[in-house]
């Protein structure tokens, strides 16, 4: 299938303008429209390996990145996230449009894809074994999944775990969103990694997106089997600490981080119980990414 890297900037801009552009994010197809050059450029860098269509076709979500009013194309330039013609959020400056796209897409998936149990969790895979990294915002979940994905782990998502009725993890490899000091940390550890433009002074601070490894994007149609649930916690200067978490405790923590658990009702409960019964849960506290990765690889090898 055609990937963005095989299209010229002109072809891409033209398809984004005409409404014929489709992005294939695994099983999910997005219609994306944009006339905002800053967004188009960042998008072209960050989604270079993703399969696309420039000639229309079926889609799940209809997303447009557009100026909030006609004059905002030229003066005090802003962009809104338009979802099926609605604008659920405030406009942001054009330099933040690519970050707004990622946030808006997360919102859309968590709000509407009730075929899946949707958890706030990163998902990675090592040696064919799926691992959920579930944690509240700010505990280093994205940084850890970025590090792992740059060290040969497969990335499925840095933000959302989609669990289907067969208990499979649905891949959604796309740019990893990193904030503030973790940007420089990953940048210094992996000088050759590809980044999108820096978005400064967003409501989440400075944000940068790391392009997902092409090997992960290529496997976006292959689900993973959950084998481990990890509750990571980064603490400055902390020695490595690994502790098992009981299945009940693990379920309660996952419910806390679930977006649509209550909507799924009985089915959500049953899916969650099945998940914690098949995948052991561990809590890991760390300050060194190398130690954390070593510990996770050992855990997958021994317990996954």
């Amino acid at each position: 299938m055609l990937t963005i890297s095989a299209c010229s900037a002109k072809e891409l801009n033209c398809a984004l303008r005409s409404g014929c552009f489709r992005l294939h994010l695994g099983d999910i197809a997005l219609k994306i429209s944009s006339i905002i050059p800053e967004f188009n450029t960042a998008f072209r860098q960050l989604y270079a390996d993703h399969p696309v269509s420039l000639t229309g076709g079926g889609y799940d979500f209809d997303i447009a990145i557009s100026p909030p009013s006609w004059w905002r194309r030229w003066f005090r330039r802003n962009a809104t996230f338009e979802f099926c013609g609605d604008t659920p959020f405030l406009p942001m400056e054009v330099g933040h449009a690519h970050a707004m796209f990622e946030w808006g897409l997360n919102w859309a998936i968590a709000s509407f894809l009730h075929n899946y149990l949707v958890l706030h969790s990163a998902v990675v895979e090592w040696k064919g074994k799926g691992v959920l990294l579930s944690a509240v915002s700010g505990s280093g979940k994205s940084t850890l999944s970025a590090e792992l994905s740059l060290r040969g782990w497969r990335l499925l998502s840095d933000e959302l775990a989609l669990i289907d009725d067969d208990l499979k993890l649905i891949p959604l490899a796309r740019p990893v969103s990193l904030k503030n000091s973790s940007i420089d940390l990953i940048r210094s550890r992996h000088p050759s990694a590809i980044w999108g433009p820096l978005a400064r002074e967003t409501h989440k601070g400075t944000v940068a997106h790391l392009k997902a490894p092409s090997s992960s994007v290529e496997k976006n149609l292959v689900p993973a089997i959950p084998k481990l649930i990890i509750f990571p916690k980064w603490t400055a200067n902390s020695p490595l600490r690994i502790e098992p978490v009981g299945a009940g405790q693990s379920a309660l923590r996952l419910i806390d981080q679930a977006f649509n658990y209550s909507i799924l009702g009985v089915d959500g409960f049953e899916r969650l119980v099945a998940l914690v019964r098949t995948a052991e849960a561990w809590e890991i506290e760390y300050s060194s990414l190398d130690e954390a990765r070593g510990a996770l690889e050992d855990l997958v090898f021994e317990r996954g």
Binding site: G58, G85, F89
Partner: protein
């Protein structure tokens, strides 16, 4: 179409209709079928929540000892009307007789619902002129109740005998806690809600409700159209019901007998048809913004007598100067 339906707040109903028809009847791609299933999961959850919320309201108002009338979406659901199919709404509308209003509000506050902080002007608008008190939101669950004491604004320019509709209400359950309007009045209320308000971003849904209600009541009793006409004359809503049924027929092909249709279709009906139609940026009419603005002015004109209208416009115009965006950040 799915994208437009999602925007119009109708994807859940479209999905419910598609499921009811069955996949053999109407062919659509597998990708869309996933969304049909996803929205039906959401609808089920929503309806469970409404039933639970009605239980909470019933408990909070158990000492009120007055009939509590259930209106619109929640009543369709409790009565099992087809109009409840895939209908998602944000507020539960209830009505108590005016003399019970203060105690109903007090009981609901004890139950955890509160009107929150309002600007003095909005407070006055609701308390002095409106047919409902400000929306009450539950502090923990975030659910909202619209507590009414009348079916239309008492200051409305069309004289509507809503007292009569209230007098003829009937209990739903054997213990007589929840009450409902009679069939004709349910439709008249839906029609007046559509025609006398300016919430046309939900206009298509309201029209579909009217279509569902009309079809259902006619299927239950062939003489329903005659009774509806007679009743609308008593209440003072003949023009309104004719306009609403004209629009339902035009968009949903409702089979409406001639005596329930307007003689002439003026500018107003064309404006409503434009405003209630698709609102998706790719397909909407260029005139929709104009239609919306004109209809909003008409709504205020219908609702308020001249002196209050002048006060209202001056207040809103001064508000434009210090307008604050309501939307939230991502």
């Amino acid at each position: 179409m799915f994208s437009e339906a999602r925007q119009a707040g109708l994807l859940n109903r479209l999905s419910a209709s598609l499921r009811k028809a069955g996949r053999a009847e109407i062919q659509y791609p597998e990708r869309l079928h996933k969304h049909v299933l996803a929205t039906s999961i959401q609808t089920d959850a929503f309806q469970r929540d409404v039933h639970r919320e009605l239980g909470h309201i019933q408990q909070a108002l158990s000492e009120l000892h007055a009939p509590v009338l259930l209106l619109k979406g929640a009543s369709y659901l409790l009565l099992g009307l087809p109009a409840a199919m895939g209908r998602i709404f944000t507020d539960i509308d209830i009505l108590v007789p005016r003399q019970y209003l203060p105690s109903a509000e007090a009981f609901l506050m004890l139950g955890g619902w509160s009107t929150g902080k309002l600007e003095p002007y909005d407070q006055r608008y609701y308390r002095e002129w409106s047919h409902e008190i400000p929306p009450m939101t539950h502090l923990r669950r975030g659910t909202t109740i619209d507590l009414h004491h009348s079916l239309v604004m008492p200051t409305c320019r069309i004289h509507v005998d809503s007292e009569k509709m209230l007098r003829d209400a009937v209990p739903i359950d054997p213990i007589g806690f929840w009450w409902r309007l009679r069939d004709e009045d349910i439709l008249l209320h839906a029609a007046s809600h559509l025609i006398l308000n300016s919430e046309f971003e939900r206009g298509l849904r309201d029209l579909w409700d009217i279509d569902f209600l009309f079809r259902h009541f006619v299927s239950c009793s062939a003489s329903f159209p005659e009774r509806l006409l007679e009743r609308s004359e008593e209440i003072g809503l003949v023009k309104v019901i004719r306009q609403a049924l004209f629009l339902a027929k035009r968009i949903f092909g409702t089979q409406v007998p001639d005596q329930l249709l307007p003689d002439k279709h003026g500018l107003f009906l064309r404006l409503v048809a434009c405003a209630a139609s698709t609102r998706h940026p790719d397909t909407r009419s260029n005139w929709q913004g104009v239609a919306d603005a004109l209809l909003m002015y008409r709504e205020m004109y219908m609702r308020l007598p001249n002196h209050l209208l002048a006060v209202h416009f001056v207040h809103k115009a001064s508000g434009l100067l210090k307008r604050v965006e309501e939307k939230t950040a991502v």
